[in-house]
Amino acid sequence: MRARVIIVPRPEVLDPQGRAVAHALSGLGFAGVRDVRVGRIVYLTLEDGLGRAEAAREVDRMAKELLANLIVEDFTVEWID
């Protein structure tokens, strides 16, 4: 069982990396990019014995306790398989 935890800066937090990437894209001639946010992805491979519901609870706790800092970041969890 694999999960993908996607972590991005919260909307109200300035993301200087995203702004630099937006600037670079514009410099390359890509018009029409309104905003860029740079985050990170954590791939978790979980023990098969866990049921999906329990695994979801565990991943939610992992994200809140360590993987994301909820003061400045939001996260979403996607299940790969």
Partner: protein
């Protein structure tokens, strides 16, 4: 006066703190490895030094914040013990939720290493209790993630309680001008304390300004004031 300087894998200002608190200020200072589950008996002050704990993996300070010695440090702070984090140590304290807010990548996306001017804003903390508000101090910063962030409501509440203890200011005017802000920190914040005033974090490095040979002694004034305050309480 017993000072415990915490040492995480990747700390690199631990010896600077040992020199400042031990040799220069005459405290009984010892290094405490991150895997320890308790602090040395009789510890009066816990110092979290600068560096790159755990290689800054995930987020600066995030992994160090969950190390065994931090559980002991939390218990120490809950009992009213004084905990002081410098640079990466400040990042660890925010990640450990011992201090409000978070430290983000510098707004200019560059590592900044230079002397800055600071103004003491409040006597609410053990660090600044014995320093006159408005005092200006010059010492170095050296960081990539020193951009202090908290939401506006949190910042307002912190201001009202005196938890914002140090701000970056213009050396000539003494005011927190935008041009004097080296990293984009909210409201030019360089150092904060918790509500109780016994946990303090700051991005600049006072331990690197404790002897003339280092280029200045303004850091010594601040650390000496901290030691005097903690000693008075311990006595």
């Amino acid at each position: 006066m017993r000072v415990a300087v915490l040492q995480f894998p990747g700390s690199n200002c631990d010896d600077d703190c040992m020199q400042a608190f031990g040799r220069v200020l005459g405290c009984e200072a010892s290094l405490v490895w991150h895997g320890e589950t308790s602090l040395p008996a009789g510890t009066d002050l816990v110092v979290l030094p600068g560096g790159f704990s755990y290689g800054d993996y995930l987020r600066c300070g995030a992994i160090a914040a969950h190390s065994p010695v931090m559980s002991a440090t939390k218990r120490f702070a809950e009992r009213g013990g004084t905990v002081f984090g410098i640079c990466n140590g400040f990042q660890v304290l925010t990640e450990a939720r011992l201090l409000p807010g978070a430290l983000l990548r510098n707004a200019g996306l560059a590592f900044v290493c230079k002397d800055v001017a600071l103004r003491v804003e409040s006597q609410h903390s053990d660090l600044t209790a014995r320093v006159a508000p408005g005092s200006q101090l010059v010492m170095p910063i050296a960081h990539m993630e020193g951009n202090y962030f908290a939401d506006a409501a949190t910042l307002d509440a912190m201001e009202a309680r005196g938890q914002i203890v140090l701000r970056y200011v213009d050396r000539a005017t003494g005011e927190p001008a935008q041009t004097a802000n080296p990293n984009g920190a909210c409201r030019n914040i360089a150092g904060v304390a918790n509500e109780r005033g016994n946990v303090i974090g700051m991005m600049p490095h006072p331990e690197r300004a404790v002897e003339d040979v280092l280029g200045g002694t303004d850091g010594l004034a601040l650390l000496a004031a901290l030691v005097a305050q903690v000693s008075a309480r311990a006595a």
